[in-house]
């Protein structure tokens, strides 16, 4: 069933709210009132419910099925966390009300910070970044501030980034005026300390390294890399997107990391919400801690103060209007409290176990770019095994839709040809993993048996067949307009 756009069913005079009558006053708008119509149609409440309920039913979701998007961490979102985030003392307080009337909220921030520092072994945490990429920006800003403070702002203008990195890494570096120098990966998919040493120089400000990396591998020379970076007077930014593989098992602080963002919507399971909101707190090492953005917390006895101005500190300043994603903080802390230290560790281990189980169950029918070796929380396949079948990674992924699954991450990381990155997470039962594996094996057999049509035509059993992305980009239609 097709669902029209709200603009096609709404009417400008229809409304789904009733409002009290306004007090009778003379307006004080200084002649700036709107004269023209806005053109915004409305719907009554029953129509609104139906419109959005129907739309929702065209979506896949983690609640409805396994969602094996590598690097995205689609795991269970406990509803307790939604309930907690809606407690009036968290959802219904204003960021600028007197701090004396929000001590519970500040204590929540402090508790969250304690957990994050303990799990990462780091010295400080900046809570305000709004998402992972914003956290990267925060960390790199702290690094740039430290470099400037050392008087090296003019000379250190290169950031080392491996080829397998998330796109946000080079984009963040570029935003701050750094140029990017790509560090090659070794044949095993990881970065060698030797390669880093060769790329380092007096012009290098930092390295941005993801660990576990985007191939799902632990950077085994990470400690040596950190030492080399530090020896060269540069900083080590760690992309923490994959922290969920090691939380409670190993601490980035022990690797020698200077700054790392943590995607609360990945490791601590705040809902992805169709693309946000996220939250990207950044943990900082001793030497970067002084540059942390405002606001930050300061406790004096029973009282917690939120420091909102940088004057008198080395803080690099403010990244966002208020204090960060409180709603996400509540959810993340609820996740942490529910899991406990033991549960967080177990979650990491189960995530790694599940990814390796998928790897071991598919290794005979699919190919791995870096050989068959233990992976972390996600397993990377390439398309070598599809050679000659006429089936592409894209086709294979779309055929998964017809089998009731969301596809895995495709064509990322760029270091693998036709990459397929699978992250099952710790939230799946063994039965669920077994069914997934069986489906993929059956699809793989079908591809190898030459049933290319099944793949070229896929998906056939979804709300839509393949959508023409080229048309969308060539003639962008980005909004509805009245005919």
């Amino acid at each position: 069933q097709e669902e029209p756009l709200l603009f096609e069913i709404g009417r400008p005079d229809a409304t789904g709210v009733d409002l009290e009558d306004a007090p009778d006053v003379a307006p004080r708008l200084g002649g700036l009132e709107r004269k023209e119509a806005i053109g915004l149609p409305g719907l009554t409440e029953p129509e609104t419910m139906r419109h959005y309920v129907r739309l929702s039913r065209k979506n896949y979701s983690i609640d409805a099925g396994l969602y094996p998007l590598g690097s995205c961490t689609m795991k269970h979102n406990p509803r307790l966390n939604e309930k907690m985030a809606r407690l009036e003392g968290f959802a219904d307080i204003h960021p600028l009300q007197p701090q004396s009337t929000a001590q519970g909220a500040l204590e929540l921030l402090e508790t969250l910070a304690h957990w994050l520092m303990t799990l990462t072994g780091m010295r400080a945490v900046a809570l305000s970044p709004k998402a992972g990429a914003h956290g990267e920006l925060c960390g790199m800003m702290a690094i740039k501030s430290a470099i400037v403070a050392k008087g090296e702002g003019a000379t250190r203008n290169v950031v080392l980034i491996p080829q397998s990195a998330h796109g946000t890494n080079p984009a963040t570096a570029a935003l701050l005026g750094f140029s990017v120098r790509v560090v090659p990966a070794a044949e095993d998919g990881t970065v060698r300390a030797q390669a880093v040493r060769e790329a380092l120089g007096p012009d290098v400000a930092a390295i941005m390294l993801t660990n576990p990396n985007t191939c799902g591998l632990f950077e085994r020379e990470i400690v040596e890399i950190a030492e080399a970076v530090h020896d060269a007077g540069a900083y080590f930014y760690c992309d923490g997107a994959n922290f969920n593989a090691i939380a409670g098992v190993a601490r980035p602080g022990d690797f020698g990391v200077d700054a790392m963002h943590i995607n609360l919507h990945k490791t601590f399971s705040t809902p992805h919400g169709g693309g946000g909101p996220g939250a990207g707190p950044v943990v900082l090492s001793e030497r970067l801690a002084p540059f942390a953005p405002i606001p930050f917390l300061r406790r004096e006895g029973e009282k917690i103060e939120l420091v909102e101005h940088a004057s008198g500190t080395q803080s690099f300043g403010r990244m966002t209007a208020f204090h960060g994603q409180m709603g996400m903080f509540v959810r993340a802390l609820a996740y942490m409290l529910a899991h406990g230290g033991d549960g967080v560790t177990q979650a990491s281990k189960d995530a790694v176990l599940s990814a390796n189980y998928v790897r071991a169950s598919l290794r005979d029918v699919m190919t791995q770019p870096f050989g068959d070796r233990p992976c972390m929380h996600e397993v990377l396949f390439d398309d070598a095994w599809l050679k000659g079948t006429g089936v592409t990674t894209l086709d294979f992924a779309k055929a998964m839709i017809d089998e009731g699954y969301h596809p895995m991450t495709m064509y990322f990381p760029l270091v693998a040809h036709g990459a397929m990155l699978i992250e099952p997470t710790e939230s799946e039962s063994k039965a669920s993993l077994d069914l997934f594996v069986a489906t993929l094996r059956s699809l793989a057999k079908s591809a190898k048996d030459g049933d290319a049509q099944r793949f070229a035509q896929a998906p056939r059993y979804a709300p839509r067949r393949r959508v023409d992305e080229t048309l969308a980009a060539r003639k962008p239609v980005l909004r509805w307009r009245a005919a």
Binding site: E2, L6, G10, P12, A14, G16, L19, V25, L32, L40, P41, E45, L55, S56, M84, L87, A91, D92, I93, H94, P95, Q97, T101, A105, W115, A131, E136, M141, T168, T172, L175, G177, V223, V249, A250, G273, G274, G275, A279, E308, F316, F322, M326, G327, A334, A338, G340, G343, D350, L353, A360, S427, E428, K430, P459, R464, V467, L478, R479, W480
Partner: protein
């Protein structure tokens, strides 16, 4: 653990399939020195009841807006959100889905984003809008960067009426990216001469209306001056509801419009998550940051929606991207869209009128007090009052009496000689009793 489906038996069987003795073996690549030998010093897992107890206790230590007469604004506004909005955004299919990279099974998200983009474009009077940003302040910083790219200049002029936090966010990025920013002094009465400052070196002028002090700003003349000098006019708002009653920034000549969308559909949340709105002219769309949903067709020719123009974005363009942004504020944008749909034009206008009328009524009451001056000539639902004394301690004292009275300007602009200024906002949630309680507490305290 209630969240972990694997049993010990499952784990054993899986390890056997993998061919390792234990899960520690899978971490063999991690240097031994980094693998923890002892559990971290963190509490053990807790039951739901225990988690609820801990968090409820923290929650109870905060004075929530709904419990008291409440008059805070300054960039975050308490409005009533219909129950259906919060219900709908909690649907599994919206809450627990990812970014709609697979359009075949994401039309729900894609269509509402397309609706959101259209609503934002209509409200702001612009051609196109993106699928949301983190919040109004970061959207402003992104707008400045976009203006730099479009004009190939790197100097921005910020109005003294721009929300101080927004100005700081712009300045932080600019300073570290080595761009220039000129920030005008606080402009309490909306009387600054921006036009006189505009020259050919500027990439953009950033003006907020209603401004931080509540003044309404006409933008047309500034827009003229910008065009003359090849600069772009960036219009900012922090109170989206005002667009229901005020001339749109687009109609006044803005090139980029950014703002905070929290007012529609979203709770106060102690500052986040909120939803940044970002709109611009059609010609500039390829320099726009952030996600975009576009219309297309599927293999059967059916109208479909899909993420588009992603060659602007970091996951494709890497260090050449228009922004490093990856996440948007999807669920908050959905709340905005649903609430806006419920309002419709008629409801939004009525809501805006009610906000304005409540604020005018409050201003009228305050103007009668001897020790209080309302400074604004014009305003929407928020205005600045000069009080006889320190506004911050006044607010503290009134809070102790159970009235959350407003935001002292010094909270955002300390050491600026503005300690006697208080920002007071009044929305549709305020009753006559609230206003009376405000005035009574104020008189008692002053």
């Amino acid at each position: 653990m209630r969240y972990h489906p694997l049993s010990e038996t499952d784990r054993r069987d899986m390890l056997a399939t993998i061919g390792v003795a234990n899960v520690e073996a899978l971490y063999a690549d991690a240097p031994a020195s980094t693998v923890l030998e002892e559990p971290l010093d963190l509490p053990r897992h807790k039951s739901e009841v225990e988690v609820e107890r801990i968090l409820s206790r923290l929650s109870a230590r905060n004075m929530s807006a709904g419990r008291v007469p409440f008059f805070l604004g300054a960039g975050a506004y308490k409005h009533h959100v219909p129950a259906s909005v919060d219900h709908l955004i909690q649907r599994s299919e919206f809450l627990t889905s990812y970014t709609p990279y697979q359009p075949e099974i994401s039309q729900g998200t894609l269509q509402y984003l397309f609706e959101f983009q259209t609503q934002v474009a209509l409200l702001t009077g612009m051609d196109v809008a993106n699928a949301s940003m983190y919040d109004g302040s970061t959207a402003t910083a992104e707008a400045v960067l976009m203006a730099h790219r479009l004009t190939r200049r790197r100097k921005a002029l910020l109005s003294g009426g721009l929300h101080p936090h927004y100005a700081e966010v712009v300045r932080t990025v600019s300073r570290l990216a080595e761009d220039d920013v000129v920030r005008m002094p606080p402009d309490i009465l909306g009387a600054e001469d921006l036009i006189g400052k505009i020259d050919d070196s500027l990439s953009c002028v950033v003006v907020q209306t209603p401004d931080f002090f509540g003044n309404l700003r006409g933008l047309a003349a500034i827009g003229e001056a910008c065009r003359k000098h090849g600069a772009l006019l960036i219009a900012v708002f922090t109170e989206a509801v005002s667009l229901g009653l005020l001339a749109s920034p687009g109609a006044m000549g803005a090139d980029i419009v950014v703002g905070e969308g929290q007012s529609i559909g979203n709770a106060l949340n102690f500052g986040g998550p909120y939803v940044g709105l970002f709109a611009t002219r059609h010609d500039y769309v390829r320099q726009m940051p952030g996600r975009l949903a576009g219309e297309s067709v599927d293999a059967d020719g059916r109208r479909s929606y899909v993420l588009t123009l992603s060659t602007r974005e970091q996951h494709i363009r890497r260090d050449k991207a228009t922004s490093n942004i990856c996440t948007n504020s999807g669920l908050c944008a959905l709340a905005f869209t649903i609430h806006m749909t419920l309002l419709g034009e008629a409801g939004l206008r009525k809501l805006a009128k009610l906000n304005h009328a409540n604020a005018v009524a409050l201003a009228g009451m305050l103007e009668k007090l001897p020790k209080v001056d309302v400074l604004n000539k014009s305003f929407f639902n928020e205005f600045t009052v000069r009080v006889n004394g320190d506004a911050a301690s006044l607010v503290e004292k009134m809070a102790a009496k159970g009235v959350l009275a407003g935001v002292p300007v010094s909270r955002l602009l300390p050491n600026a000689g503005l300690d006697d200024l208080l920002l007071v906002a009044s929305t549709e949630i305020n009753t006559h009793e609230d206003r009376a309680a405000f005035v009574a507490a104020l008189e008692e305290t002053l």
